[in-house]
Amino acid sequence: MAQNDTFYTATHLMAVTAGKVLKDNKSVFVGTGLPMIAAMYAQRTHAPNLLLIFEAGSIGPQMKTLPISVGDSRTGYRAISISTMHDNMSFSQAGWTDYGFLGGAELDKYGNLNTTYIGESWENPKVRLPGSGGGNDVASLSHSFIIIIRQSKRNFVEKVTFITSPGYLDGPGAREKAGLPANCGPIKVITQLGVYGFDDKTKIMKLETIHPGVSIEDIRNNCGFDVIIPDNVPTTPIPTREDVQLLRELDPTGMAIGK
């Protein structure tokens, strides 16, 4: 887990790993921070024709540097269109968005996310968080979505305090039963320790790869629910020095990736 002797950080590894999930000639609905970096990285490497979509209206930009907001003018750099939220949300609902990208304060084994509050009740929250934003829309309307989140026993919980954005809700078929578009949902969870997918049958999170230097015990000690751990778990490929260099170019001030 300690990477003091290496040239990359856990954040670099998360960004690059997330970027590698995105295939060329697909579309991705991008949120603030690491998702932006991952999408920009993918576009500069293996997926030059990756179509970036922002909730505030930008479509198909080739961004130079990391924006502060999903709506600021940096999101429109070399875009093919700067449209509206109604347009971008509507075409996502109509089936044009392949991937979404989300983070959260809490996550459960079905990939449900909480970004609304922590505490006893919604009426009297201990910590009030920003709410859904476009998160619920991305989780509801994209064909698939990827979660980037740091994991610990505290935030990987059996049951999230509040389902702000739907994962597989309470299991197989629940999304469709609720009326959400068919055959959608989270496909990956990328943390500082490993990469997870979702088991086909149960829709429960399943470890796919483990980052270098991380043990199965570390995974278990930093997870508040029973995650599926197969017998042989491969190691996550590490970023190259060029990857790290590229991340620094995309985020020169270190806003998302650190210095």
């Binding site: 003091n4 950080t9 603030t32 921070g33 909730e55 505030a56 209206g57 130079k64 540097t65 990391l66 502060i68 907001s69 999903v70 709506g71 600021d72 003018s73 429109g76 700067i82 449209s83 509206t84 939220m85 109604h86 949300m89 609902q93 609304t116 919604w122 009297n124 929250p125 201990k126 910590v127 009030r128 968080l129 920003p130 709410g131 859904s132 934003g133 476009g134 998160g135 619920n136 829309d137 509801s140 309307l141 509040f162 389902i163 702000t164 954005s165 739907p166 809700l169 999304r175 039963k177 609720a178 009326g179 959400l180 578009p181 001030t253 270190g254 806003m255 998302a256 650190g258 210095k259």
Partner: protein, 344 residues
């Protein structure tokens, strides 16, 4: 239609479409000079208890000048449609003019992290969150308001607690028989929108980054425009395709150059992260907040004087260069964050 589920959030800003039609019928279509001072516009059109929405995107193309004037006039008990509230709602909360919020995204500053000021207000009960919604859900509430229908059907929010705490309902769609979410339409009492250019009649032109202004302007029961500049009506008529808000939707036009500072005005100026950092720091405590308001809101008579306190023309020149990638971003909040985390 069979109702399958009902959100328990408070229904804010909804009007029976016939009642709303009657309101719109009474509004003037006359082509008249709608220019006035910001203080006149706010005192004439903003009432305590109004349901309010801000155009733009929380900290992009927002009417900060309008917000400052509402605080200066001590408006109170407004209900905010937090359709992505960032710096706008933060200052409104700090300024004490809000008592209720419908939240799509609020109390956060995107890359800058959570807002201490907004969080404190909610966690202490000073400001009450009355309902949740998603960004698309919120914007479709305005679409319904613009269309003059009572609701808009959507496939978002289904199955989530966001829906359960919203004012939406889930019904069985008569065609597919699948559950569908109906978001109630919304016609806010008052909307402020900051635009790059408008003429004296209220015709507003855009340079992109419209976000949801198109719908919001049409859903608004009263609309105040602040604009970077007033242009001649001939200019509007030469390029009518750039006009996204025709003047008849508008009640007041106020010229406020740099009226979106410290937020991002696409094409004109990027975020003033130095000013935003100062706000984030000072608004953490009641004492700091009071000092900030005394200095920047109550201690000046208008937005121009406020800008002088923030570096005036020189600062705006730098923010123009920054917008065009010709200057380096100065962001004290970021230096602090990176320093704290120890670099690596």
């Amino acid at each position: 239609m069979k109702i399958l589920e009902e959100g328990t959030g408070e229904l804010v800003g909804w009007h029976d479409p016939d009642e709303n039609r009657a309101w719109m019928a009474k509004r003037s279509r006359a082509i008249v000079d709608k220019r006035m001072s910001l203080s006149d516009a706010v005192s004439k059109y903003v009432s305590d208890g109004d349901v309010i929405a801000m155009g733009g995107f929380g900290h992009i193309r927002v009417s900060m000048a309008g917000i400052f004037e509402m605080i200066r006039q001590k408006k109170k008990d407004l209900t905010m449609l937090g359709k992505t509230g960032v710096h706008d709602i933060d200052v409104m909360i700090g300024g004490g003019i809000l008592s209720k919020v419908e939240v799509a995204y609020c109390f956060g500053h995107e890359m800058r992290g959570l807002s201490k000021c907004g969080r404190n207000a909610v966690e202490s009960g000073k400001v009450k969150v009355v309902s949740e919604i998603s960004n698309a859900g919120h914007q479709w509430r305005f679409l319904g308001g613009m269309m003059g229908v009572p609701f808009v059907p959507t496939r978002t929010m289904l199955g989530s607690d966001t829906l359960r705490k919203s004012s939406a309902k889930v019904v069985e769609d008569p065609w597919t028989k699948k559950p569908i979410c109906l978001v109630p339409s919304c016609n806010p009492d008052i909307v402020f929108i900051h635009v790059p250019r408008a003429d004296k009649f209220g015709n507003c032109q855009y340079d992109g980054y419209v976000v949801e202004d198109f719908e919001l302007a049409r859903a608004a029961r009263t609309l105040i425009i602040t604009t970077e500049e007033i242009i001649d009506n001939e200019e509007i008529r030469e390029t009518p395709w750039k006009t996204l808000i025709p003047g008849f939707f508008v009640d007041a036009v106020v010229e406020v150059k740099n009226g979106c500072h410290p937020c991002n005005m696409p094409g004109q100026y990027y975020f003033d992260e130095v000013a935003i950092s100062e706000w984030l720091d000072m608004s953490k405590t009641d004492e700091g907040l009071k000092q900030w308001l005394d200095k920047y809101v109550f201690g000046v008579s208008d937005f121009k004087e406020y800008l002088e306190l923030n570096g005036g023309e020189d600062k705006m020149k730098y923010l123009y260069e920054l917008e065009h990638y010709r200057a380096d971003l100065k962001a004290p909040w970021l230096d602090k964050k990176l320093g704290k985390k120890g670099g690596k």
